[in-house]
Symmetry: C2
């Protein structure tokens, strides 16, 4: 069907091993499609819906594994593209993978590098074989294909691998979106064939941009193959919030009940609340840590720019309702001082706080689903956030 | 004697309160002038000889108070000059001092700002009254006098305050050194008169550059007044190691047995080993933390530049003989990776390591004095360090 002439024939293995990832479904919310679950991995159980903290370069910027365990971070995401370029696969083969290298005992999901090839500027060409690009570090030429991506993810030893996909901007013409989607499908099958270690789960990525028919076609094709989970890709790449919500709702419905659903690279707290209500199980996003390094905190009374002068006079906690180590220990005026002095303890303390905010939001969402009150919970949290964001705009 | 006409008359109080700092003398090394002691403060006991970790801007760069307690840091040094400019004395008066602001429960020593006025570039004038300078932050004009320095240190609520001194380069002409010394004496008495809180100890600073006669004169003058301790200033400002060692040895002999002796801003591990042998009790230096942020580690086999390419292949600990949290947990290749990626976790982990190195050196020195074997201990450590530094140069 989608195998062009000239490309070596791809097959899924004749006997498919049982998925290395067991997904145990839990409570369903009666008023929405929100659902609870537990992902069982050899490195421990992950309660879903789950937010995955981003540790791009084998580190969550500024934090130690102990800091992350104190936050009860259940799973990290690491970026294959960045780790391929530096320190490279040989190191990971030598030391026995990413967990050993960064000293992280809990599960890791690795992306495939597809998104970075799409989004990072520079010298690259993409064809059926894969992507050819020049390293931003030393100018070396790399060839990232479905097979080399799986090789690298095997070297990383991640618990969940992602198939290489081709991502295009949400504003692309339908033909371009369709072509990228079809190539993504072929690459997904090549990834499946390239997997050697049955202990590493492999997820495929549904593409199709903002075109419902293509999303249907993509989900239909990929779910016919023995992937351990399915991700929704190609969102938060130029689309509006309304478009993102529409496609998320649609795409989730097309995915099987029995496997985990992962909405890639999303998003803000309202994005998460919406997508959980659609039945998404897994999320990752750099927002909490990136904003922390820029001096912005998520709080129960809206976003706070810690660097703003008014905070110099606030000797209470950053967020009086927050139980994180930062809010239990330090004042807003101290955090303000650290940021004004460009002291790295400031972003470190704010990263702890923002990650706690995201993880706590997910804990509350899970509890609300368990209690069958997710709709009311999400509505209250969304209206709280909207209220504070409007108040901030008008202030 | 040293009160010029035109300057308001200065007196020491008629009834001098008992020193807020009790210095209990311990073992004396039989082969050197090294000595053990305990500084008793209201915030806990400090075993001497002690290395004071520098927390310039109310933070030891990148580390939390919990990190410092895990290292068993006994006392911090904070910089009056930097904290005067930002966040300023009003904040400290409002929140109840530096300990409350930065959440540090153990003792703090504050310098007077004299060294920064001497060493920081910019627009400043110094006269008998004090120093007038422009803030590098907002261009505001400040007037730092012995009295305003004590006021600021009172706002900081430090356990040990330093009298404002005038520092000149070690290479200055004798006339200039003498004039600065005499002014330092007048400023020391003004500082004593300005102290209002008897719970804050006050140390004077012996000046006199590299001129033995002036050092004698300075120590003789200052020790006639009821300071709680005496510091040796004006070293590590352009002098050679031999000059520094000669003056240190001389200056310590001129100071009383009953009070603590503090060698300011010194130094490297060999500097510390030498000065402990002369009878110095207290040290501070930015070297361990500054070098950590530049990627250099102190190890049992010499200094290691973590960024050097060869470290990419070393999967063992940074220092196999080190028991710090960094060496117990992470590999040298991981630290190398963090530095190559400019990830702030690298300098954070190296700061922990370098501080552990300094604190451990002091623990070992104290144990050697207690055991009466300081000379052998210091000789062995110095020859070890020399051996590795020569090996590194010839490698």
């Amino acid at each position: 069907m989608l195998y062009p002439l000239g490309l070596r024939r791809l097959e899924t293995p004749d006997s498919v091993p049982a998925s290395p990832l067991r997904f145990v479904r839990g409570a369903r919310d009666p008023g929405s499609r929100a659902r609870r679950g537990t992902l069982l991995t050899s490195r421990g159980a992950i309660e879903t819906p789950v937010f995955m903290t981003v540790g791009t370069r084998a580190t969550v910027t500024g934090l130690t594994p102990d800091d992350l365990l104190a936050l009860d971070v259940p799973i990290l995401l690491a970026n294959t593209y960045h780790l391929l370029l530096r320190p490279g696969p040989e190191l990971f083969r030598r030391v026995g993978g990413l967990h050993a290298f960064m000293r992280w005992p809990r599960p890791v999901l690795t992306d495939s590098g597809g998104y970075q090839i799409f989004s990072l500027p520079g010298d690259r060409t993409i064809n059926e074989s894969g992507a050819r690009f020049r390293s931003y570090i030393d100018g070396r030429i790399y060839h990232l294909t479905p097979e080399t991506s799986i090789d690298m993810q095997a070297a990383l030893g991640s618990d969940i691998m992602m198939a290489l996909d081709e991502c295009v901007p949400s504003t692309s013409q339908e033909d371009a979106v369709r072509a990228a989607m079809e190539r993504t499908h072929r690459w997904a099958l090549r990834s499946l064939a390239a997997r050697k270690n049955p202990a590493q789960a492999l997820f495929a990525i549904v593409q199709g941009g903002l075109v419902p028919a293509l999303r249907r076609q993509s989900a239909g094709f990929l779910t016919d193959h023995p992937f351990d989970g399915f991700a929704i890709g190609g969102l938060a790449v130029g689309d509006t919030r309304a478009e993102r919500e529409e496609i998320t709702g649609l795409a989730v419905e097309l995915l099987p009940e029995a496997t985990p659903r992962y909405l890639m690279g999303v998003g803000t707290p309202p994005d998460l609340l919406y997508a959980i209500g659609c039945g998404v199980d897994m999320f990752d996003c750099v927002i909490p840590t990136h904003l922390a390094w820029q001096g912005t905190a998520f709080t129960s009374t809206g976003r706070v720019r810690v660097t703003r002068g008014a905070n110099a006079a606030v000797d209470g906690a950053l967020d009086a309702r927050c139980a994180c180590a930062t809010c239990r220990t330090f004042s807003r005026s101290y955090l303000h001082h650290l940021f004004k002095c460009s002291e790295p303890l400031g972003p470190r303390l704010l990263s702890v706080h923002n990650l706690h905010y995201y993880l706590e939001l997910m804990r509350q969402a899970r509890a609300a689903i368990d209690a069958g009150v997710y709709v009311r919970f999400a509505r209250e949290r969304l209206s709280e956030i909207d209220h504070h964001e409007h108040a901030a705009v008008s202030a």
